[in-house]
Symmetry: C2
Subunit: 399 residues, 2 copies
């Protein structure tokens, strides 16, 4: 019996093409695959229903009891995602993606509409799942304010979203310092936006200037954040990083120094980043975090201290559970087991009943070996039961 | 219907601890985990039976129709592996591992015994599966001469094994230039062995000097082979490289420039390297080859030409099938479909009948997308039927 997995960054509509479309750099990838797919959700609500039902089911089957979902620009399909997660009993933070510039004309809204629709979705989530109170159990669905990333959001929009986060005291999420081209574009835009500064500021400073770096804010990637400046700023705000190791291999062009961030005291958790990452499994994401740390260790040459760099399966399991809860500021409610917390849990088993485990356990394995084999080789077949808020929400795959 | 997968490098006994024990550098790892486990196979033939049955079944379930197996030092458990692969109908090259120095005193044989036992196993394989002829179908089990690696083999042993390879005209396999410490140790030993040379030679030159680099030789890893010298030598001999991407993240400390080797015309295929690599799945190994190429691309900075470095799922699928057959010099018999070749094949399916696929196919997916999803997200559940030499050898997992 383990805490359920917490996936800090999932693009729910992109599940439609997860496992394909990793052949372009980030900005081209958005134009070629992402925007057309997400726009389709506006035009075809049945398709939205199909894909959202599939992604919520698949994540639950993989033991993800909490997911932070980016939906799409349009409020109607966002409601469908809220309904499906609520009905299936998955804990979810659902965000209407905001873009009011540098997006295709047929997939871009005005500043005002972005703000209005964000408020509409927040109200719908409260209506569906209730409002969060200091006592009582955590509502199953929480709103999350979601500017896609700095290049597609005007300063006016970012400021209004920062104000909204304050009014509702709700979560915020976005992408930060993901790739070289994104960082460069952000800086150029900021220089123009600010007029009187000599060079653009880093993503972290820009977000902070609009009140978006809060202790309920989860920023994805962060591969190009600077240690002395950006990391310290995130720490001082209590803002967390969603580490997306598989996606970073394809789109970031570098590896996040995860272990060092943990040592510095930055909040950090793990994510699949569907569909920048292909796999819906947090066990898979945990394994990729370990592999990524090895790649980083090669890169930094053999003089670097292993304890500063290398993650093992135990660190990765922490990031996938309690690290995620801390990143959401919800470590008193989920991510581990204590009296009074929500019961969000999975039963992980290596037993091969009904031919349902890919893992072989031998007489030479002790209990630690079995747990390690589950972390390193397990998949959804090893996740036998899933509970959210005390309720059994195990997905029965068609048999 | 696809060609079956060809796994060029599997340590069959190490399947016992696959998914654990990746926390030490190569040479310590051998002492701590590998030698004690392999020695146990001498003392406990029932354990050997259990582990070998598990690894052959698991590889077949994952669509591996041909495997190159390192067994152990002792001939008796090697026979068990031959029997199991033969009975289960998997095409296998089985090698008695040879070591006559720098190994634990209780897991090291004399030069003479290594040679005698290698001959005994070759005779046993011929007796079990028949001898290879220029006409007729390929025997199911083939012998492979298997010095573990240069540090554990005296020049006398390597020379005798080279002679044996010539007499039997059979395959050879070993490890080559895997890690910095291994390469350095090999060089130091060679300098002592050769007395009159000013510095030790590279692994490739040493193996070649004993007649072991042949066009039926598969060398694992090769991460530290030099382009101008070693690569050219391997090309001129027709010797192939077994690329072990997952293992290399943990033990090699660097990434093999796979794509460049392909472009140079070196023979190359793919391997799981159980248990340096944890997964028995060649689909997984193919994905890790893609990820490794991305890590290499980061490493080599953004100026490097992507076509020189980045592997996609199609390259990886080639390496897992026909690339493997070419690496074995068996491309006229296995690895693709042509009249007169052996029928070694798998049925790959994304269909979710009986809840048996982790892949979601949507109305927006074309046939190429489905194939890509199978490569990127598929597992043993997607491998519905397995054929070797025309015979259905599908493993029925306990249900």
């Amino acid at each position: 019996l383990c805490p359920g997995f917490i996936d800090l960054h999932v693009h729910a509509p992109q599940f439609a093409f997860a496992g394909t479309a990793t052949d372009r750099p980030l900005l081209q990838w958005l134009e070629t695959y992402t925007f057309p797919t997400e726009r389709r959700f506006r035009e075809d609500l049945k398709y939205a229903q199909t894909v959202y039902h599939a992604v919520v089911s698949e994540l639950l089957a993989n033991g993800t009891t909490t997911a932070v979902y980016f939906a799409t620009l349009d409020v109607e399909p966002c409601r469908i995602l809220v309904d499906i997660a609520f009905k299936q009993g998955q804990r979810a933070l659902v965000g209407k993606v905001c873009m009011d510039r540098n997006a295709p004309t047929d997939y871009c809204h005005s500043t005002e509409q972005n703000i209005r629709d964000t408020e509409t979705l927040i109200a719908y989530i409260y209506q569906t799942a209730g409002r969060r109170t200091s006592t009582g159990s955590l509502p199953l669905i929480l709103p999350v304010i979601t500017p896609r990333f700095i290049p597609t959001c005007t300063p006016q929009l970012l400021r209004a979203l920062g104000d909204l986060a304050k009014v509702h005291s709700c979560h915020v999420t976005s992408h930060i310092s993901e790739s070289v081209d994104e960082v460069e574009w952000s800086r150029q835009l900021d220089q123009v936006d600010q007029k009187n500064i000599s060079e653009g500021r880093s993503d972290a400073i820009v977000f902070d200037s609009y009140g978006l770096l809060t202790d309920q804010c989860i920023m994805a990637h962060g591969v190009y954040l600077q240690d002395d400046s950006d990391w310290a700023l995130l720490r001082s705000r209590g803002t967390s990083i969603a580490h997306c190791p598989l996606s970073n291999f394809f789109f970031a062009g570098n590896v996040l120094p995860t272990r060092r961030l943990m040592q510095r005291g930055n909040r950090i958790g793990l994510a699949t980043d569907i569909a920048g990452g292909s796999s819906p499994s947090m066990l898979h994401s945990a394994r990729m975090a370990v592999v990524a740390s090895r790649a980083l260790h090669h890169h930094q040459n053999t003089q670097s201290n292993e304890d500063d760099v290398i993650l093992d399966y135990r660190h990765a399991f922490f990031l996938a559970t309690l690290g995620g809860a801390e990143s959401l500021g919800l470590q008193d409610r989920i991510g581990t087991f204590r009296v009074g917390m929500e019961f969000d849990a999975i039963i992980l088993s290596a037993a091969n009943q009904d031919g349902r485990s890919p893992i072989h356990v031998f007489e030479t394995d002790n209990v630690g070996d079995v747990f390690q084999k589950l972390c390193v080789l397990g998949d959804d077949r090893n996740i036998r039961r899933v509970f959210v808020q005390g309720k059994d929400v195990t997905v029965q795959r068609t048999r």
